[in-house]
Amino acid sequence: MISSLITSFVVGGLICVVGQILMDVFKLTPAHTLSTLVVSGSILDGFGLYEPLIDFAGAGATIPITSFGNSLTHGALAEAEKHGLIGVLTGMFEVTSSGISAAIIFGVIGAFIFQNSKTTY
């Protein structure tokens, strides 16, 4: 268990370091950085490399935004395997909805609960 925690720390941290390099060296905005990482996650899954990384690092690979691209691709590929080309379109959100739906729901709840009026910085 402890080794799982350490690998997720190291792998998750390293993915974030890649993001920091994109931001600092290539001068990308946060939105550009995240989009780049999502695209690379989906490409890695195309080569079948991201799932082994999840097996290895657990949350270290599922928590960074790269896993979002991975699971979109994974859903599309799983569906394509069953139903052919049309599955590429239909399977996309089969696996990943939890991140998006959680963000939408907690976004609305957060807007209800919290006020944007704090002055302590």
Binding site: S3, P52, A78
Partner: protein
């Protein structure tokens, strides 16, 4: 300072994988499973339960071999299927399933109860992400 952190991390990574845990239940037909599993260096521990229809093996794969987790699972399950042609074999390294299997062993369940648990475990493992 920073190098020290890395060295510490590496130590942790390697040091934590020494305890070996082998448990087979019920013990009477253990030899064959043992034979198969002991051939794999990447498997550092396992617990297994068997009833009249199923063979359930939960393996603990070494950290660095986890990249090939799926391949290892498939290989072992193929080998075991050869040994138990009349039973359904499930080999997995999933933590949840290992915990469930260990629970069966700890409580030394009776045949009926065990069959029920095994059914539950199998349906768990079939769930897609």
């Amino acid at each position: 300072m920073k190098n020290a952190i890395y060295i510490l991390l590496l130590c942790f990574l390697t040091a934590c994988s020494n305890e070996v845990n082998e448990a087979i239940y019920p013990e009477n037909d253990s030899s064959e499973i043992k034979q198969v599993l002991n051939n794999y260096d990447s498997v550092k521990g396992y617990s297994s339960v068997t009833d009249k229809n199923d063979v359930l093996v939960a393996i603990d794969i070494r950290r660095m071999s986890r990249f090939n987790k799926e391949k290892i699972e498939k290989k072992i399950s193929k080998k075991l299927e050869e040994k138990f042609p009349d039973k359904e074999v499930l080999v997995t390294s999933d933590l949840k399933i290992r915990w469930e299997v260990e629970k069966i062993i700890e409580q030394s369940m009776q045949e009926d109860e065990m069959t029920k648990s095994i059914k539950k475990i199998k349906s768990l493992s079939k769930e897609e992400t």
